[in-house]
Symmetry: C2
């Protein structure tokens, strides 16, 4: 027997060595050497890129490896081969592997950074991108579209990569299914770390998109598993599944402001995923379902506060005989053995029902078909504090079979409670974010639906055959999942934490020259302390990092007189600029802008926060140019006066659902004698699935503004979804309307005092340019 084992081991070793000894390694150090090496690839070839920066390389990796003898393209040292400038990588052939490359400081010169195809005829199959990083590899403006990883062909993989920071238009990763060569693809997207993607302010910023509506009938079979999605906030869909038979397993969606959405296509499996929310955000969603035959099992939802489209579980209403690109009715869906812990109104059915708008919208936009033949069974909901509406029924629930669901709602009553057995049981904390039922969860009969016998395990892999229970978790795991041990996701060489460390040095500046130098030299997170009383500025100050500029004396404003050229800004907000300005009295000479984005090439977003300031005598207080985007713009306790224009964020006129800033907060401010565009915030084109534009104006006073307003509206928020005007005073503004709010959306007002300033109108439905 021992001899037998020895022989087998030897055979194994020999065969393993056999592969290795055949490999033919070539080190290349220049683009020319690389091109040369790529010209004649054979199975078993290794091309090694020498460490260093590779700029402006368009790598066309075409070869035909075999399963046992793939062809590899790899870094000399993983992470030390930096690809930048105008560079991209395209693969064609069979069994190709790419390992250890780091794309940064550049952007793709084509429609994709990495693509599993050379052209229509030559796609890659059985190929793999592993252990790579793509960070901030953005095109110059957000309207310039690209994809960072574009799948075509079949049986390709993206694994153990770190990908973050995409701010331009286009999904981060996309699977293309046009053409028979790319269907039944069985691609795998596994073990990656999808780092933060900032909100884009409009659609087409998914982190993963599988197909599109035109190929939504295609069998895809893409697997997305074991990935970590960290604050993937690009748009309302973190993952947009648009084809059939895709599987989403064991992923962590961490504080990502969006949902996993089965947008088109059918028969997807959503199994064993974690959706972790945050009490401070109503944007973080869970699973949103459209279409037929999806199975949602063993998922864990924690602390999610998203509503309607972003609710923890949203089953949408469909459009009758829906057009290909709209909403197919939910049918034959199974939602079983999932857990919701401390989620607000977690179950929402008939989401998107808009039957009440049938007189306004065309028939092809009316979502009147509620879910049918749908089973919701053996699920668990636990609320530490009673939830008033665990179920929200946007339409009738007659198409849903509720079976053996349990809730602990702290004894509070609620609508549609027949969907549950109410029980008193407790949870215990397994680890950060993960709570599992304690032993006081009472036994009761589970529902055994059609093919429920195929749900053999729980979230942790415990067999359900014994001691089965409702919810995602039937028993404690043998080992804790250590969900927040981020080292298990992405490449092991990429330092996750260090990129987030920020400096906090203080630079005291007593003169304009010192101020300019300090701003230029400061590190991310530094503070520039203004120690003089007054600064004479005549060229724009370029803000391209996180920076605080503030008066040294908290009780005394520092004067900055800006005398630069007309139409130039005092503070020029560059990509990644993040300015906090405190205690400054900023004065222009009427022809300039106080703040403005770049006119072009806003490749990333900017942010700004202005507090305890005074701003006067400018043409514009803020001028946001087309394609610029800000995640937040805050004005607090600031007096803004004697300007021609106020906050101008209305350049997105293409009718594609985009807008210039995600959040605008104005609190405790005074606007005096702003002639027009006091706040002009616009979203062109109605895409009802993207739920942004947020404006909050509170406790502020507007006097003698709008004298030259052509639109007749003081605060113009056309197309913006979320607007809150509360506790403000509007005195002596010569306009027809203070604002025209959109009643059908989340626009509200309360406690405002309006004198001699026109009306505050709420219109239920606005005339809209539909995007579809």
């Amino acid at each position: 027997m021992t001899r037998m084992v020895t022989i087998l081991c030897l055979l194994f070793i020999l065969s393993a060595c056999g592969d290795k000894t055949n490999r033919n390694t070539r080190m290349v150090s220049t683009p020319e050497e690389l091109d040369e090496a790529l010209k004649s690839l054979e199975a078993g070839d290794d091309i090694v890129l020498a460490n260093g920066v590779w700029k402006d390389v368009q790598i066309r990796f075409v070869g035909y490896g075999t399963e046992k003898q793939p062809i590899t393209l790899k870094a000399e040292t993983a992470g030390n081969v930096i690809i930048g400038g105008k560079s991209d990588l395209k693969l064609g052939g069979e069994y190709l592997q790419v390992n250890g490359l780091y794309f940064t400081n550049g952007s793709s010169p084509s429609e994709s950074v990495i693509e599993f195809a050379i052209n229509q005829d030559t796609v890659a199959n059985h190929s793999r991108i592993t252990n790579c990083v793509i960070v901030d590899y953005n095109k110059a403006q957000r309207n310039q579209t690209d994809l960072w990883v574009l799948f075509k062909g079949r049986h390709n993989e993206l694994d153990h990569c770190y990908i973050a920071g995409k701010s331009n238009r286009g999904p981060t990763v996309r699977v293309d299914l046009a053409g028979n060569k790319s269907i039944k693809n069985y691609h795998k997207i596994t073990n990656n770390y999808f780092g933060p993607r900032p909100p884009k302010g409009g659609p087409s910023a998914e982190t993963i998109q599988l197909g599109n509506s035109f190929t939504s009938m295609a069998p895809s079979y893409t697997l997305v598993a074991n990935n970590f999605f960290d604050r993937c906030n690009g748009e309302v869909e973190v993952i947009s599944s648009k084809t059939n038979f895709n599987e989403f397993r064991n992923n962590v969606f961490y504080k990502s402001e969006g949902s996993l959405v089965t947008r088109h296509g059918n028969y997807c499996i959503i199994e064993g995923n974690y959706f972790i929310g945050d009490t401070s955000s109503e944007q973080i969603g869970g699973v949103r379902l459209i279409g037929t035959g999806h199975w949602v099992t063993n998922n864990y939802f924690y602390n999610l506060k998203g509503k309607t489209f972003r609710s923890p579980l949203a089953l949408m209403n469909g459009i009758p005989k829906s057009p290909l690109n709209r909403y197919i009715q939910v049918t034959d869906v199974v939602v079983a053995y999932n857990s919701w812990v401390n989620c607000t109104s977690p179950w929402q059915f008939g989401v998107g029902s808009n039957v009440d708008q049938k007189d306004i919208l065309p028939a092809s936009e009316i979502r009147s078909e509620r879910p049918i033949r749908t089973i919701v069974a053996n699920n668990l909901i636990y609320n530490t504090e009673a939830d008033k509406r665990p179920i929200v029924a946007h339409d009738l629930l007659d198409g849903i079979d509720f079976k053996s669901n349990v809730i602990n709602n702290q004894g509070a009553s609620f609508e549609h409670d027949s969907a549950f057995k109410q029980e008193d049981f407790s949870l215990s904390e397994l680890e950060e974010n993960i709570f599992i039922p304690a032993n006081d969860l009472p036994d009761f009969e589970l529902y055994h639906g059609f093919e429920f016998d195929q749900i053999t395990k729980d979230l942790f892999g415990n067999p359900r055959a014994n001691n089965n229970r409702v919810g995602a978790i039937s028993d404690a795991p043998e080992e804790k999942p250590n969900l927040m041990d981020l080292s298990q996701y992405g490449p092991d060489w990429y330092p996750l934490k260090s990129t987030k460390e920020i400096s906090s040095k203080i630079h005291s500046v007593g003169s304009m020259a010192e101020l300019e130098t300090a701003v230029q030299r400061a590190n991310r997170g530094d503070t520039v302390l203004l120690t003089a009383d007054k600064y004479e500025m005549n060229t724009p100050l370029k803000i391209d990092k996180m920076l605080t500029i503030k008066s040294a004396d908290a009780n005394k404003k520092v004067i900055i007189n800006y005398t630069g050229a007309a139409k130039t800004p005092a503070f020029e907000m560059n990509p990644k600029g993040q300015l906090t300005l405190i205690g400054v009295d900023l004065k222009g000479t009427n022809s300039q802008y106080a703040f403005a984005s770049l006119q072009n090439n806003m490749s990333s977003l900017y942010n700004m926060s202005v507090r305890d300031c005074e701003i006067s005598d400018f043409d514009y207080v803020l001028k946001a140019y087309k394609y610029s985007f800000s995640e937040y713009i805050k004005f607090r306790s600031t007096l803004i006066k004697n300007c021609t224009n106020g906050l101008e964020l209305s350049e997105e006129t293409d009718g594609r659902g985009e807008y210039n800033a995600e959040n605008i907060f104005v609190d405790n401010c005074w606007f005096e004698n702003i002639e027009k565009n006091v706040i002009d915030y616009y979203r062109g084109g109605y895409d009802e699935s993207t739920v942004g534009g947020n404006l909050v104006v509170t406790n502020s006073t507007f006097t003698e503004c709008g004298t030259k307003e052509e639109d007749g509206i003081l605060l113009n928020t056309y197309g913006i979804i979320n607007v809150d005007l509360s506790g403000n005073k509007f005195i002596d503004n010569q306009v027809e309307l203070v604002a025209r709010l959109w009643g059908a959306k989340n626009n509200s007002h309360s406690g405002n005092v309006i004198k001699n300033s026109g009306e505050l109108l709420v219109e239920e439905n606005l005339p809209l340019k539909l995007m579809y």
Copy 2:
């Protein structure tokens, strides 16, 4: 070794016997015994129905057999158990088999004759209907819907059955995919004989329908193989595939007036089928494609003369972002290795393009999206006589890749000839209808497209690895297919030919009493010879079989005076009535009808042919009641005069695309003083895929008609697709219009003389009530 074989044989025999010895057989002779036996079924049970007629039995066959121990329900002698009256059969459970039943002389009391489900919860799986017959088992009227075999569940089979004569609304066989229990069904419909299904005159008369538009996203995997479709003329779709991944293999479509259509759903396989046409019919089609990813390979098309929707190969245009129930664009389709022999304009692309109607139809009805990413390769066309248009391009062909197709068009030139290599080669006759290329077919390079290596065999199963050739046939078969040996299809006990044999006895009748008796007693096909000069008829003559009634003297008309009650017909056309009336002078007293269908319960169609007659003094010449249907109504060399109404076929006012007669022929007739509705032929509701209503009026004269016509139109053909008015004279008819023809459809006129009779108008587009 010998011992080993012996032991294995013994083991095999023992295991086989093992199954048999476990079987528990119960013979039942009454419905009560049957019900009792069905109450407690166990694996291995056989229930045997005693020979005889079983009337009004609703069999609910519920049991749980196993693969090795199925439960069977069978006839004592196959074919000698006749199920009639209000009877049906529903199955629920596992591994059930039904064998040898004969459904006739009755109709289903439910929505189906045989159904693989008891109710929503209890479906049948792994169950089989074999060796059975369903003939003429129609509901009372064509608007009463049912299905003859309704599949639900999974892995069920219909094989070796004979099914013919369905005339009411509803597909003959339907696979239902609503609900997860019925998807991925892998049903098999094999080796059946689908006998003639008469035209229904409107939609919903498919022979096989797989799913519907609402379940068109479902994976189906139904196999339809080795069946014979004999004149399945119900509607424009013989088979309507409406789900995904269905397979159609080795079927024979014999003179069936319709097509195999991938109406909804995608990725179907159409492989190795025979489509046999007839030079005398332009209704016989081939394959019509809508949607994505279908593969059409190794098929043989012979003598097909269908056009556009019914062309031998039709690739349709789609609707942009089509609604679920309309037309998805053709993409990613492969048409390879097929043969067309003596088909007229066999390849039609962009069929259904109606861009020119975009001002009339709603945008959601405009088929403007032509096929894309479609490969048409390695096909063969042979024409004994040159075809002017082997390819018809209803739109641009830029989305089609034509590769290595060959044609022998007898050297004639034609449009789009770059799609072919033109070669001079010959065919030889293998057997009736089958022609194969002779050895003079030149070799040339075949196209090797993506996954073409999976087309390993030809139509006859010859391997394509060696001596591969274009077209369906790479080599002569080892054995002839004997396609027209009908004994290979359906059950072996059902006498195919005998049912078609007709009598031809002559009954001479000299009195009204004799006439009545003869009509009553005559057999199908007999002739009743009128030997007297005159007959006095005062009750309707019931015509319920094929019958000729004619004057004994070909040169002299016999007078029949009809003096029956008002609103009764002289000739009452019953289901299956098929009257030929020759040489009769039929007179009423103004209040009766000359011919009429039954008012109700027209369970089958009727036909009539009137020649060398005179018809006068009736309220209606022909009154076709609602839900009645005639395949043909012919008037030749007949004088029709002094009636209030003429041919009235306009009762189908439900707007469902239906009409009262398939074909109306009027040739060499005279219409004099017909006050209104001279010909009133109506189709309500526009369903553009159903192409019927045919009216041909030639060489006839209309004088002094229409004096009381309320519509102002002499010949009213509203909604009828095919109209031909040629060589007629219209003299002194007091109407606004002789006719209003539909220019966009197949309405034409030529050589008519119109005097003092209004206008003959052609309108390109009629205002229509859309069905969708």
